[in-house]
């Protein structure tokens, strides 16, 4: 091997080491949200008796402002109590592109403002581009307060 080729390789190797030493930790720190363990995050919606049986009631997740990272705002959801024993908490995101659904009490339908998706009270898709039914959060009752696990749905929901 020629002296110059050798020296060139040495410079390239040295640069690669420096690039790795700076780039790898930066890359790992940057990518870290990807492998954070998924853990249940229970947040209260309000006392259960606020949500009438047989009705769909809009609600919002109560946020503790001291936590970090600070949530972007109250997460709006819909609580449906078809009967005494059953509680269903829908995500407000349309299953097509994530636009915010509105509940229309007259027809008992959820309406999407973006491309006219319509869902029935039981979450079925009735019309428009969406293909899958409304997403449901895992929920539980703690001391008479309805709570949902916001980690129970995919990250963009």
């Amino acid at each position: 091997m020629k002296r110059r080729t050798m020296a060139g390789l040495l410079v390239a190797a040295g640069s690669a080491v420096v690039a790795g030493a700076v780039g790898l930790p930066t890359l790992i720190a940057g990518l870290s949200p990807v492998w954070q363990p998924k853990q249940a995050t229970w947040r209260p919606l309000g006392r259960l008796n606020r949500f009438a049986i047989g009705k769909v009631t809009p609600a919002a997740v109560v946020i503790d402002r001291r936590q970090w990272p600070k949530p972007a705002g109250e997460q709006a959801v819909f609580v449906w109590r078809p009967n005494d024993g059953e509680i269903i908490v829908y995500s407000r995101s349309c299953t097509d592109l994530g636009c915010p659904l509105e509940y229309e009490p007259g027809s008992g339908c959820f309406l999407c403002p973006c491309h006219g998706g319509i869902f029935a009270q039981d979450g079925r898709r009735l019309a428009g581009p969406p293909q899958s039914p409304l997403l449901r959060y895992a929920n539980r009752i703690q001391d008479g307060v309805l709570e949902i696990d916001i980690a129970s749905l995919p990250p963009a929901a």
Partner: protein, 472 residues
């Protein structure tokens, strides 16, 4: 003395070679409308300058971002003007970039030896589109939040990598302060830096390889050597060639002047984009995308639902891969739109689709919304008391969301009741309203309306079926 100082500056700052190789170089004569690339450079400069000012007033924190934009717009001296110029230049840049792309597709601007220029250009196209979307997310109003959500939902639909990518972009399992910090970093630091570096490289290649000249479009060019020979012969020709600065620059400046005039004019007439309500997931304000994405919104609304989830991730990926492969797939020696009827037809169709889809978006927003008014009764019809009650209930129970009556109201999701294929009897209507047949996109009303209300609605629909098909 002055002359000596100038010579010193030129020598010590190495301006000579720039003059020789960039400004004083000879180029083949180009028609005036080849200045779309220069217009993009001008718009980019406007965006960088106005963006610098905006970044000094903007606060990338979830509780403060909206108010800081409001401050820039309403209270900072000329803040509205700078934000307006940034907004309109951004939108115009997307339009000009589309024109730039179309022109290269028409003329075969990606053919040898300009494949490198083209590939860098494809990267620039996607960076500009991403930057233009993330820019309006920064406003942190309803449009911004839902622009982001739509983007993330589309990313999430990618098989395998979707959820991981959302976690990365969002900075965690939900939209938090980290998300806004990321959007800020991407829009203000990372993407513009990448953009400026790649634009520099793109321009270096434009100077090195030139752009598709009129002479190159005349006859088939088989090899790179042949192309270079034609190019240089043209460039150095006393009639067919000209000097780049200032002759060519002045000639190709119309696009730049029009772009700047539009950016200034639109800013002065309309001001910056009005802020919607602050980003909040409980606001009822209807949202829509920015106008330069209207065509895409129409496209996803019109797709059959079965392919929509695949389309959302496959479409951008297919466009990217398609554009990257284009110079290697299209090996024909012909350049210029006149020699390439297929390319020309496709580009005309592309332009018509983008314009047509955008037009459709504004004609029909497809928004499913509770109609505010009861359907009108055609002239010459008198409703009995019961049917009139039914007409009121028709709105109250949300029937008007889907059904129009003789063309009045309704989003045309369900049938127009005056245009039904079959006329239903009283008994059939009762059945239909309480328990719609399977597969029909109508909620059942059993248990939700009283017998009296049902009779009133049925009475109304019975009359509505006899209305003339369209009201004048």
């Amino acid at each position: 003395m002055i002359r000596r100082s100038l010579r010193w500056i030129v020598d010590r700052f190495g301006l000579g070679p720039i003059w020789d190789h960039v400004l004083d170089r000879n180029v083949p004569k180009d028609p005036w409308y080849h200045g779309d690339g220069m217009a993009l450079l001008v718009l980019l400069t406007v965006l960088v300058v106005t963006g610098m000012l905006l970044s000094m007033g903007y606060c990338p924190a979830v509780d403060e971002a909206y108010r800081s934009v409001e401050y820039i717009t309403k209270r900072q001296t000329l803040g509205w003007f700078v934000r307006g110029l940034h907004y309109w230049s951004g939108g115009l840049m997307v339009v000009m970039l589309f024109l730039h792309l179309c022109r290269q597709l028409l003329n075969g601007g990606y053919k040898s030896p300009r494949e490198g220029t083209w590939l860098i250009g494809v990267l620039l196209l996607f960076i500009v589109l991403a930057t233009s979307l993330l820019g309006y997310v920064l406003r942190w109003d309803q449009r911004g939040l839902y622009g982001l959500k739509v983007l993330l939902t589309a990313v999430q639909s990618t098989p395998g990598l979707g959820e991981k990518s959302v976690l990365l972009l969002q900075g965690g399992p939900e939209v938090t302060s980290l998300t806004l910090s990321r959007v800020f970093a991407l829009h203000v630091v990372l993407l513009p830096m990448l953009l400026l570096m790649l634009v520099g490289y793109h321009l270096y290649l434009v100077i090195l390889h030139g752009t598709t000249t009129l002479a190159e479009r005349k006859e088939p060019i088989e090899t790179v050597e042949e192309q270079r020979e034609i190019y240089h012969e043209q460039a150095e020709h006393p009639v067919k060639g000209e000097v780049f600065f200032p002759t060519a620059v002045i000639k190709i400046s119309p696009w730049s002047i029009v772009s700047l005039a539009l950016a200034f004019g639109l800013t002065i007439v309309f001001g910056p984009r009005a802020l919607l309500a602050p980003a909040a997931n409980h606001s009822a304000e209807p949202v829509s995308e920015e106008w330069w994405f209207a065509w895409y919104s129409a496209l996803v609304a019109l797709l059959p639902p079965s392919i929509a989830p695949t389309f959302q991730w496959l479409f951008p990926m297919a466009v990217f891969i398609g554009l990257v492969l284009l110079p290697f797939v299209d090996r024909s020696p012909l350049r210029g739109w006149k020699n390439r009827p297929i390319a020309t037809t496709l580009v005309v169709l592309l332009v018509l689709s983008v314009l047509g889809l955008s037009w459709l978006r504004y004609q029909s927003p497809w928004t499913a919304q509770a109609a505010a008014a009861v359907p009108a009764t055609p002239a010459g019809f008198e409703l009995a008391h019961e049917a009139e009650q039914g007409r009121q209930l028709f709105r109250q129970y949300g029937c008007t969301i889907c059904h129009s009556v003789a063309g009045s109201g309704g989003a045309k999701i369900g049938s127009d009741l005056a245009q039904l294929d079959t006329i239903y009897s009283q008994t059939e209507l009762r059945q239909y309203i309480l328990r719609p047949p399977a597969g029909v996109a109508m909620p059942g009303y059993e248990g939700r309306i009283s017998d009296d209300e049902l009779e009133q609605i049925v009475a109304y629909v019975l009359v509505a079926q006899t209305f003339p098909r369209k009201q004048e």
